[in-house]
Structures are given as structure tokens and as C-alpha cells.
């Protein structure tokens, strides 16, 4: 059951202006319909985290940290390490955010980000096992949203991916008694692919990528699609109480692949040269 949702209000005149612009193939900030805002990724911003990054996507800002410890695997996957992604919109991030337990939007955000990482097989969780059924690495990625200006889905996903790529985790070995002990050696996580999330909003008959808060206030439906290195789609989520035609879904899928490659190279550059 949802409580009252606070709504980001856009004036009628502004709405008219925005839809006029969309009809001409452009947007309030001058972008084309399939242009992302500037994406800046700064890595290793938190020394105490095993991996971290700060992501700015236009005015949307967030920070992600990776913490790793040893844990016990789930009974149904004794041969796999743990990977948990969670996200939180901090109360300082927006006048509409409030402290308290996560609401359904935040839960959806975290679950969709998690789905993209998990289903793409970005991390080879079978390599995160020390003793099958007993000791596995538990990788936690926590994303804190610092400033909200739309497209939290993509920004969160980029933050998770970048922080996992930069993470250096302590290597554990088994001692004589078969107990795991921490060594000083630091290793990278077993990365197999770089999943990239691309979210598109439908306003009228237009699909636009990377919507701002203002554009999100106008959107009727939203579709997030995550693609991997090979161009496979590996996660998706339609959102908002509106619909999409099947043609729009197919269009969204091809845009997601195309823009995904673009973003992937930005992420790679930021992580490997940063």
C-alpha cells in the first residue's frame, strides 16, 4: 500500500514548453532525445571502503561504497559468494526525501540495480568461495543518493558498476585448522562483463533517455534496460502507471544497446585512467 506520494510540481506553461520542444526533437537543456547528460565518475573517494566512487549525472549525484567480509552462503547456493546491492535516497538529497524505512520507489531502485549486476553475471560469484557451503566472500555495495535530479536508476547502476570495478578486496586463506584468515594481499573482484543500464521515459509519443526530475514529472511510463558487453539484454523494468507500445519497447531495446556502448566506454575510461 502506498502512502501519499509527494509530487515534484511542474507549472503548466513549463509543461507546454517541454512538449513543444520534444516535438522539435530537443529538450529544455538543449539535449537531443537520446543524449545523456554529462557523466562524471570519480573513483576511490572513500579510503576505508574496498572500492568506491562518486557519480555525477547532470545534477544527480551519488556515492557508492563496496565493503567485503566473509559470510556464510545461502543454503540453496553453497557454491556461490554473496553479492548484495542496496540504495538509499538520503534525506539531504531532495526536499521530497524523508528519513525512515525505504519506500517502494527506493526498494524498486535498489532491486533493479541489483538485478542488472546479478543477471549480467558481472561478478563471477562462483569465484568468491573459500570453503563451499561454509565460507564465502560477501560483497556489499551501498549507494547513497546525495542529490536528486532524475534518472536515479542509471546513476545508481553506474555507481555500483564503477565501484565494483575499482574494488580491491583482502585475500583470505585457510590456516592449518581450516579456518579462514585475512592476508595483506589485495585482489580485484572477478569481473566478467560491464553491464550498463539505460533508462528511457515516455512523454506523449516521445522516448527520451536520461530524464531529469522535471522530465520525470511529465513522463507517463519509464523503461530501464540493462545490456552487457556482448549486447545481450540482461535486466529490465517498466515503471510508472502508463504503458508502452510494442514498437516503443523494441525501439527502447535498440537505444539501450547503442547508448550502453557509449556509457560503457565512459565508465571504462573513468575506472582505468582515474
Amino acid at each position: 500500500m502506498s502512502a501519499v506520494k509527494k509530487i515534484f510540481v511542474v507549472e503548466q506553461l513549463r509543461r507546454v514548453q517541454m512538449s513543444d520542444l520534444l516535438a522539435r526533437g530537443t529538450r529544455l537543456d538543449g539535449r537531443g532525445l537520446s543524449d545523456f547528460r554529462e557523466l562524471t565518475i570519480t573513483t576511490n573517494v572513500i579510503e576505508k571502503a574496498e572500492g568506491s566512487c562518486r557519480v555525477k549525472l547532470g545534477n544527480t549525484e551519488l556515492i557508492a561504497g563496496v565493503k567485503v567480509n566473509l559470510g556464510t552462503p545461502f543454503p540453496d547456493t553453497p557454491d556461490k559468494g554473496l553479492l548484495v546491492v542496496s540504495a538509499e535516497v538520503l534525506p539531504l538529497a531532495s526536499p521530497y526525501a524523508e528519513p525512515g524505512p525505504p519506500d517502494e520507489n527506493t526498494i524498486e531502485l535498489a532491486r533493479v540495480a541489483d538485478r542488472g549486476i546479478r543477471e549480467s553475471g558481472m561478478i563471477d560469484v562462483s569465484k568468491l568461495v573459500l570453503v563451499e557451503g561454509k565460507h564465502v566472500y560477501a560483497v556489499f555495495v551501498d549507494v547513497s543518493i546525495l542529490n536528486v535530479d532524475g534518472n536515479l536508476f542509471d546513476a545508481t547502476s553506474y555507481a555500483v558498476v564503477s565501484s565494483l570495478m575499482t574494488a580491491k578486496i583482502p585475500k583470505y586463506v585457510l590456516d592449518d585448522k581450516g579456518q579462514p584468515s585475512k592476508t595483506d594481499e589485495m585482489v580485484s573482484l572477478p569481473i566478467q562483463t560491464i553491464p550498463v543500464s539505460v533508462t528511457q521515459a515516455r512523454i506523449g509519443d516521445h522516448l527520451i533517455v536520461d530524464p531529469t526530475s522535471e522530465e520525470e514529472a511529465l513522463m507517463e511510463s519509464r523503461i530501464t534496460l540493462v545490456s552487457d558487453d556482448k549486447g545481450n539484454l540482461c535486466a529490465g523494468q517498466k515503471g510508472m502507471p502508463g504503458s508502452l507500445t510494442t514498437d516503443q519497447v523494441l525501439q527502447a531495446a535498440s537505444t539501450a544497446k547503442l547508448k550502453g556502448e557509449e556509457i560503457r566506454s565512459i565508465i571504462k575510461k573513468a575506472v582505468y585512467n582515474g
Binding site: T77, E104, I107, E108, E119, N232, Q237, K238, G242
Partner: protein, 251 residues
């Protein structure tokens, strides 16, 4: 979740027959009953394979708390919930994060079909209770909920029909069941409004290349259309004579 690995060779045999005897483009048996709960304004029961799901609608009714009412339309509220005995292992009855997400996507899948503007300052509650789950429960729940909304007489543009397609043992299949969901490579639940071909729910778990995605999408759409026929027949059966009608899926 965790769709990598698992021995998937036994899921489809050389003749293209799946573990439960279905062809790759075949739905599980579906049965829909309308008006099964006395107190509810509208209700439906769906059996979708081993899924047994009840949906009930209460409303339009007064909104509590009052401040959540909207001046120009009704507030649609959905709760998807799994009974503790619905799964292999007992499920904690408290709503999980998964259930909260499914409640949200269920609401968003149903909302485009409803003329909420006809009922200002009211609430419409939809309760989806999964009594037994067998993979694809969100789709079956949405299909049942839409029938329950029709049974409640809520003004609507269309019925919402849902069905999933996926990838199992390297092949695109229609209507992924529980085992296939766990061992398969992808699951693509879809809901549509049949007459206008509008997609109101789309989720994707697992990997599909472009060709597979297009194929899975079109199969899921055809599955939705079959579900639509059954929803329609169930409603007609309820209101024009026949109390209950068992409908076999024709392929």
C-alpha cells in the same frame, strides 16, 4: 534470481518437450473463476499451472488516511502477498522487498486500464493473495486482479492480461514455470491491454540477445492474448449463465 548455471539439459528433451510435458510454445493449464468472495466488490481466482491465486477488489471507497485522497481521481492501491504456506520453504508472512516491488509493478500494470478519473476522492484497493506459487505468480496475479476489477464494475478501457516468456536450456520458451525460472537463463514477464496492444508491465531477469528478446516478447504477447480470451470467457460465464467454466487452452 541467480540464473547462471544449473543443469538445464533436463529441462527440454530432444523432441522439444519440457520437464512438465509442455511444448516450448505452450501455456500451462489455466482456469479462471469470477466472483468467488462474498464480501469483496469484485473477486477472481486463477489457477495458472500450480499457481493458485485469489484477487479481491474493494472500492471505490472512502480513503483512509483522508489526506491521501486525490481531488480529480481515485487512488489505486495494490498489495501482492504470498501466504506462508505457498512456497517450498515457509515464507515469512511480513511483506518482503520483492513483494513490495511486485505490488508496485502490479499497480502500474493495472492503472493504465482503469478510468480512475471517474471516481474522484476515493480509493480502490486490490489484494492479490498467492495461496500457492509456481513461477509466474506476478503475471497470474495481474490477470486475476484485472478480472476482479471488471467484476467490481470499475470503469475500464480494457482488461490487462499477463504472461511471461523466457529462455530455458538455450531456447526461448513461453510461460516459464518455477523450475524453469530457477534453472533457466531468462524470464520476461509482460502484461498488455490486448485491444490496444499497450505494454503495461515489462520486467527482465536474465540474458537475452536482441533476436531472443524480440522472439520472447512476441511469444509473451501471444500468451497474453490467450490469457485475455480466458479472462473474457470467465467474465461472460459469470454474467451470462454458466457459473463456472473450465477452459482448456487451445494452441
Amino acid at each position: 534470481m541467480g540464473k547462471q548455471g544449473g543443469d538445464s539439459s533436463s529441462l527440454i528433451n530432444e523432441q522439444g518437450i519440457r520437464a512438465d510435458g509442455r511444448r516450448i510454445d505452450e501455456l500451462r493449464p489455466i482456469k479462471i473463476e469470477v466472483g468467488i468472495l462474498k464480501n469483496a466488490d469484485g473477486s477472481a481466482f486463477i489457477q495458472f499451472g500450480k499457481n493458485k491465486i485469489m484477487a479481491a477488489v474493494y472500492g471505490p471507497k472512502e480513503v483512509h488516511p483522508k489526506h491521501s485522497a486525490l481531488p480529480d481521481r481515485s487512488v489505486l492501491r495494490c498489495r501482492y502477498h504470498m501466504s506462508p504456506f505457498s512456497t517450498e520453504e515457509r515464507k515469512n508472512p511480513a511483506p518482503s522487498r520483492r513483494e513490495i516491488e511486485i505490488s508496485k509493478v502490479t499497480r502500474e500494470a493495472l492503472e493504465p486500464s482503469l478510468m480512475l478519473e471517474d471516481y474522484p476522492r476515493t480509493a480502490i484497493d486490490v489484494f492479490v493473495e498467492v495461496l500457492q506459487s509456481d513461477g509466474g505468480s506476478r503475471c497470474a496475479g495481474i490477470s486475476a486482479a484485472s478480472v476482479a476489477l471488471a467484476d467490481a464494475g470499475i470503469n475500464m478501457r480494457d482488461l490487462v492480461s499477463a504472461c511471461a516468456a523466457g529462455k530455458v536450456a538455450g531456447q526461448v520458451v513461453l510461460d516459464v514455470d518455477d523450475t524453469e525460472d530457477k534453472e533457466g537463463q531468462a524470464d520476461l514477464p509482460i502484461a498488455i491491454m490486448s485491444t490496444s496492444n499497450q505494454v503495461t508491465l515489462l520486467q527482465l531477469d536474465g540474458q537475452l540477445n536482441e533476436e531472443e528478446f524480440n522472439k520472447a516478447l512476441s511469444w509473451a504477447l501471444s500468451g497474453c492474448k490467450k490469457v485475455y480470451e480466458l479472462q473474457r470467457e470467465a467474465l461472460i460465464g459469470r454474467y451470462f449463465g454458466k457459473n463456472e467454466k473450465v477452459l482448456e487452452v487451445e494452441q
